[in-house]
């Protein structure tokens, strides 16, 4: 419990006093800051609504004439609120934060790249190099290669969409667990997140290659 600087009563740790709605100087986790359970699945509308309501109700302007402790609480609460919103709004940063709360991290499997991903990255980059070279040499002859690179692009986009569906399903299954998350599901979450990161980088490189005008 924490004492509210506005009304002096004890309240559950959160950003807002449950008695008087004043700001609390509580150092809570980002889910609690937004009044959410520690779940991976979040309804975006709920997140937006809570963020905007708390942003209004805890805004420093409303406490400009209040006592210094209250003003200070309003500043720390709103900055924590913003950090919580930015972190939890995006499913990937939310998942990374959730892992951190459970003492896990994206890097825990070291630097090993899944073999199939590594192979794809090197194959595609070889094609991209070939593509750039041929386009510079004989721009007119590059259309076959352009088509192939475009196909590759679609392939990656589809894989990323499939990964996002897998991610949502993994979120759901982890949310149903009450106790510590099972290692198997956490491993799956880590695998999806890392594959996604590699494919996103690859997609960015493919799009850069397609956008680049042939050098004269």
């Amino acid at each position: 419990m924490i004492q509210c600087p506005s009304c002096g009563r004890l309240a559950e740790p959160s950003l807002q006093c449950s008695n008087c709605s004043g700001p609390l100087p509580a150092n809570v986790d980002l889910f609690t800051a937004l009044g959410l359970p520690r779940k991976l699945t979040i309804a975006p509308e709920q997140l937006e609504a809570t963020y905007h309501r708390l942003g209004r109700e805890l805004h420093p302007d409303r406490f400009a004439a209040a006592r210094p402790e209250v003003r200070k609480a309003s500043l720390t609460a709103t900055s924590l609120l913003t950090r919580a919103y930015r972190t939890l709004r995006d499913p990937i940063s939310r998942a990374n934060y959730w892992l951190e709360l459970h003492g896990r991290k994206a890097r825990e499997n070291g630097s090993r790249v899944p073999a199939d991903v590594a192979e794809m990255v090197f194959d595609i980059h070889e094609e991209l190099a070939e593509f750039a070279q041929s386009r510079n040499a004989v721009p007119a002859d590059a259309s076959d290669l352009t088509e192939r690179v475009n196909e590759r692009r679609m392939e990656i986009v589809n894989r990323l969409e499939a990964l996002d569906r897998e991610l949502a399903a993994t979120f759901c299954s982890l949310d149903q667990v009450q106790d510590a998350p099972p290692d198997e599901s956490v491993a799956q979450l880590l695998s999806i997140l890392s594959r996604r990161a590699y494919l996103r980088t690859l997609l960015r490189d493919i799009e850069k290659a397609l956008d680049t005008r042939p050098s004269a």
Partner: protein
């Protein structure tokens, strides 16, 4: 973001880019990646089987400028070193040389891991070639 002059130099003129021919002997290959940002790095070392000295190095890195610079620098750093010496290279040496900012430290970790992965790969093949029954897994 401001890259240091050394990062820009390695980025614009990367040393030892490419890979060795597939049939080249005594080559160890390390492929590593950063799951946070999706960078992928491949480092190949050509190692003298008698002396254990690193005779040549090649790299291919797909990622940010700092990751490319880190791997380029590492190929220069390990050439002429004994594998035991190369195994002892710490990422802090790369950070210092390239003046990497805190957000790019993971790029130097990646380069350090790549050296270790390449040497481990070379050793594994040697063990397999010489004493097939004692071949270690991983």
């Amino acid at each position: 973001m401001a890259y240091s002059d050394k990062v820009i130099d390695h980025y614009n003129n990367p040393r030892n880019v490419g890979s060795f021919a597939k049939d080249e002997e005594n080559v160890g290959t390390g492929v590593v990646g950063a799951p946070e940002c999706g960078d992928v790095m491949k480092l190949q070392l050509k190692i003298n089987p008698e002396s254990g000295m690193i005779e040549d190095a090649r790299f291919k890195t797909f990622g940010c400028g700092s990751a490319i610079a880190s791997s380029s620098y590492v190929t220069e750093l390990v050439k002429g070193k004994h594998i035991d010496e190369a195994m002892a290279i710490k990422n802090s040496a790369i950070v210092k040389e390239l003046n990497l900012p805190p957000v790019k430290i993971h790029c130097s970790v990646l380069a350090e891991d790549a050296i270790k992965a390449a040497i481990t790969d070379w050793r594994k093949h040697r063990v397999t070639d010489e004493t097939p029954k004692k071949a270690e897994s991983v």
